[in-house]
Homo-oligomer: 352 residues x 5
């Protein structure tokens, strides 16, 4: 996951000018529309913007899901028709927003970050903008692929409450899908942490450090996505907007609870990962110390022995020991004795 994304292209322009700052994308914006009441649903894929405009005034519940905000003009045209403030349009297209909730009276603007792992297990973060109006929900995503499939299925089959409720429940269901998916994002952590822990005790190699460091960075990213969301949700619940029914408020409190749980989990993971880092460092230094100690001891034992050999290698004319018959074996014996004494000494000091 990229932690930071350039914003410069937008700086310097008049406020309210929508400028896309995400990964450059070509191809068309894809719009999917769900239009439903309790007993009927109409799903249209690849709509044009013009097809969506009439939905503003129908009394059915309409969900216009725009996949791709790189075509700022289309987004602007759609939003203008639905009466969205230019600053909001700017935020939709300018996909570096913090999660937030803004109540504009006629509609509520919600920004969340959708986290997903791609095939390579890489974490990807995408801005999702939700606009909740009296009879419609507009949603804007950056990239193809999302976590809303279960919601779509419930709309198609009529399972659960989503078809029987208004657009507020639909917005809730989308929020809930995003927040619930955060847990799936955490799934691999428990295992990874356990794996790292086991390896640490066996063989602390620098790749583990890399792996710990990466988890840490991902957690910083997740944290940035969830902390502001919690505040935002709490604001939304307290705001008592006319657009959100009392019943849906109960459900929003549930999403809020989940967000708090995510934060809780992130913080606990952060603590644990910090602990792993400490453990890694202690482990490396323990291991290194062990190596150095044994090697130094070997060296230290041989140094006096070499010294003894050096003495009897001197060429003095008068060295009585040299002439002794058992001199050589005596010297070897002396060396053995020195070695044994040193080993005993090291053992007693518990260095060996």
């Amino acid at each position: 996951m990229k932690l930071f994304r350039s914003r410069t292209k937008a700086a310097g322009l008049a406020p309210g000018t929508p400028v896309y700052v995400g990964t450059p994308r070509t191809g068309d914006v894809s719009i999917t529309v769900f239009d439903f009441v309790a007993d009927r649903v109409d799903e249209r894929r690849s709509c044009s913007v013009d097809e969506c405009l009439p939905l503003r005034d129908t009394s059915t519940v309409s969900w216009v899901d725009v996949d791709g905000v790189h075509d700022a003009d289309k987004v602007q045209r759609l939003c203008e028709h639905f009466g969205i403030h230019p600053l909001v349009v700017e935020d939709i297209v300018h996909t570096v927003q913090r999660p937030k909730v803004e109540d504009h009276g006629d509609y509520v603007y919600i920004v969340v970050r959708m986290l997903q792992r791609d095939q390579a297990g890489e974490l990807r973060s995408e801005q999702v903008s939700l606009l909740l109006g009296p009879h419609w929900v507009l949603s804007f995503q950056e990239e193809p692929g999302d976590v809303f499939e279960p919601v779509r299925n419930r709309i198609r089959t009529g399972n659960g409450r989503v078809r029987k409720s208004g657009p507020d429940y639909l917005a809730y269901a989308l929020l809930d899908a995003v927040v619930d998916h955060y847990f799936a994002v955490f799934e691999p952590y428990s295992e990874r942490i356990e794996a790292v822990e086991q390896q640490l005790s066996r063989n602390p190699d620098p790749e583990l450090l890399e792996s710990i460091h990466q988890m840490k960075r991902e957690l910083i990213g997740v944290r940035r996505a969830v902390w502001p969301l919690r505040e935002a949700l709490s604001g939304l619940i307290r705001a008592e907007s006319g657009l959100i029914g009392k019943q849906t408020n109960v459900f929003l409190r549930d999403v809020y609870d989940h967000a708090v749980q995510v934060i809780d989990t992130v913080e606990a993971f952060r603590d644990t990962v910090s602990g792993l880092l400490d453990l890694y460092l202690s482990s490396v230094s323990n291991r290194m110390n062990e190596v150095m100690k044994v090697l130094t001891i070997i060296a230290t034992i041989f140094i006096p022995l070499t010294f003894v050999a050096g003495i009897y290698g001197m060429n003095f004319r008068f060295m009585p020991e040299l002439g002794w018959h058992w001199g050589y074996f005596g010297a070897l014996g002396l060396m053995a004795a020195v070695a044994v004494v040193m080993v005993i000494f090291f053992r007693r000091k518990r260095w060996l």
Copy 2:
């Protein structure tokens, strides 16, 4: 204690669908019922769900204790009859909730985490859900074995206030039992910490590190269980729910005090354990330094001596000293002198 538990199975389902996520369990859910007034108590074990349903409408105080929430259907049937909101049922079964208190008007929903040590001394965390209604208390646990036995005994014998008071006091008594047991969970820490401290000064080995690290992880877990509980209790006390009498509120404040004390203790333990880690690291490095220093000094003393021996081992034709009669002993004396000077030097520098 497992810090994190998978939630994925639940993600993607319609909100309000109860899905069990704990350790897979077979066997039946075991339901125990206490039905009592001040002068009479009726205890029934292994009830069926149907036997419990009439208790909703009797005027006696009823405690339905459900041990095992893996059979989501039974839980749902029971709860539906008592008028519990589907989202609450989902939370009861979905045993990864943070401790919280929700006042639903007709009943109060309380989630706490029950901590126990099993035979192996391993810490186990279990979600306990309490539902407090006008004449009944429903409690849901994940696993057999709990900390409620003293409460049961007081109901059986009529000791204390529990039989003379309403369901609010019963709920309080259960909460109190859970929170009081946290202290028992801490019991082994003081001793373990002292043991670790004593060993540290004698022989800092890597197992101690492991032990410190484990205490740290357990404390992260306990902290996650208690912090939110405190907030939740504080909310409950201030909420002035009609279901909780003024007298019981005094007792709840007592539980709140205990929770604060637990937090206090956890934080102090965390500080202490962090201090132990620092002590361990300093201790290891002190010890290592000591070893290295002595060994290096030994090596350093012999290096010049070996050099002297090397000089007189050279084969130059004209080396006057070699012919001297006392040359050999003079060389030995020189070596001894060098060694003594170096030892004195090291001592004066306080390196030895």
Copy 3:
């Protein structure tokens, strides 16, 4: 000071059952009574509980000071007569409470921790419970020996306001004595810290580490005693209990100020002690580095010299230098030159 004390004996009992958990004590509870008005004082030592009971209803100011709460029955009998709630009695006897203030309408319950150093300079923490009623103050201590002697003297001699004021001022005076004594507890720190600092620069040995670690632990303990006290006092001042006159409130604010000052001092000590630890570690590592460096340099200088000696110790038949007349002295000169060059090199690199 013991940081943590077992609570298990109390867990599992009905709430409101007083159970003593402190150090086991035998011998009788000692009760001292002061009964005074502005111009008269009556001091009785070693009273029985029965002698104290009538004091509830007299209009003089009575101070019943109970030294020892290990005899739970006596405490309970006394308290019951004075109309104290069973949960309060439990807290008095169960001496592991956090400092707190509870306004029960008819009386105010105050828990503080009295810190004292014993002869060995060891820090000891004792729970003191104060009960302030309309005409009386009950105080409960765990162990003989307290910090109230100055207050007693003022009552005896009639110095200051204590005899002229009501029981609220007396309670204040006791609180003030406890809080003021915290400063005496800190007294030795400034000197110890300075001593440690001076020794650190001269000779950082592991005992200093031990000493720093112990200060750290004591400060954790003191902090646990004082932080909650501050909150509690602030609550008491704002509560405007009818039992505390407006004039005494001014004095309570003074105690509050002192408590804040204590916290301030503790925090500054903690910062300083942490700094000492850092200094210790840097100091040890500096010293170690210095040792290692010099020793390594000695070794490094001799290694090439020994190599030169080794060359001329070889036994090749044709080694022209060996036959030279000045060969030996040339070799010695070469060695000296190598040594000098290396020393100069090390000096220039500022390693020496």
Copy 4:
């Protein structure tokens, strides 16, 4: 960026005496004036103070942009005419203010810090004071060069709302330009961080440390500029000053959002940079350990070999091996065997 700037010159003077404390500057103060209504704009460069004074009473929107506050007299004369409080004038000239917003009823005083990178990529911080009156905006900068050019262009061309709105929108546009430029200041970080990370794994050299340290210092500076701004903006939005229309308030909330985003980003960068430091240290120590280990192993292998050579270099008369025909090759074989055994041993211990 200089983190701290001397304030001493100002200390000791009567409050309300404006004293310039920035980099000494010569040359004249340069004043630029924009005077506009929706359909007409009048831009005057290098105005004198006297030319500006009449603008106070015209009904057009006037922006007086003063570049350079080192000439305290001019600033004072201008401000006095516009009715600015002496303490505010002192703050304008005394360019060490924290960002703040003060509502003085007749005008609003806003201090922000404008951050820019100069040609060398060095971060420069400049105090910008904005005064928002009923028909005018005064702005004061320290140095030539600012981030307001896009705003000026919009005034000149009549793009966006700025010409159609009042002075409140103009003040907002200036604030927005300053805050938006913070993101440009961060631009190089992402790349620098990535570059540092890549280099770390390859070759951790001390220059990286320097680079990390500098990023850290810059972030401290940016943080000091933005944190108080957020509070100040939040205060401004809530204050509901009569000088700021309801419509402009919506825009201010947008600036506030951006400020929060900046803080968010700064905090995430700080976390990341701290992580880099840890990574650097681990990396250095890993690398060092690796070097030391291999070298020590080489030394350790040769030490026993040299010892063997030393033995057969001894000059004892009776050393049977010396006379053996294959003695020499036997000795070489022995040495080879020892070396192989040690290498195998080291490999098995995974030290090699």
Copy 5:
């Protein structure tokens, strides 16, 4: 600066007993009086207490500046006449107070800490007590020498507002002088920090550590002086005491701003100094590593060479190489080759 000062002498006395705890001082208390209205000033030095008493009832503004509080009796007599509460008198004399503001209705009591550097550059902290009454200001200092000279000059010359305003403005001016001087106290830091930084990269020696440690301690002290002051000032501004005019309140807000700026600066300095410590430690360890590495490499290169020399120093009878004519030079060549190969190897591994 001494961080902690003994308080014991005061513990145990009746509250309201003034006891001096500062550095023992002999000599008389020196009292200076300024008595002024807009157009007239009367300055009297070395007044007696009795001369000051009538000033309570005159309608001119009187400033009684008492230099030295070691003579508790005089302070008490003066204060009693001006109607000051005994606890306040105790605080004035007992010079270990935290900065605070107390509104006693008839007068406001303000405690601040005056920080100054003495000739040696040592930081000195002194308690200054201000009492603001309806027509008078009493100020109490511990030691001769203060930062009020500019205020005195403004009174003497009639510059600024001080003569034209009431005692509230005078008290403000004194506070302002104290707070503004904090910046002068910081003055040397920027330079010291830069000096330390430059030296660090060149030659990290233990004196730098000492210097960093001392800055850290001073900053702890300054922080203790300023944090509570900010709270206190904020309280004073909100309190709307009748003794402080609306106009002076604007000025107090300015002092408050300065205090916040001081805190801000202290925190940034603390961050920077912590960064320096990290840098020092990394720098020392970098340098040490560099030394060790080069030395170890030298040793490692010579060890195999010495081994080769050792081989040809052996005394075996049959060593064919010894008889070769070019044997000696061949051996030397072998050694050179080994050395070159090792250097190349080390270079390629980038260890050299």
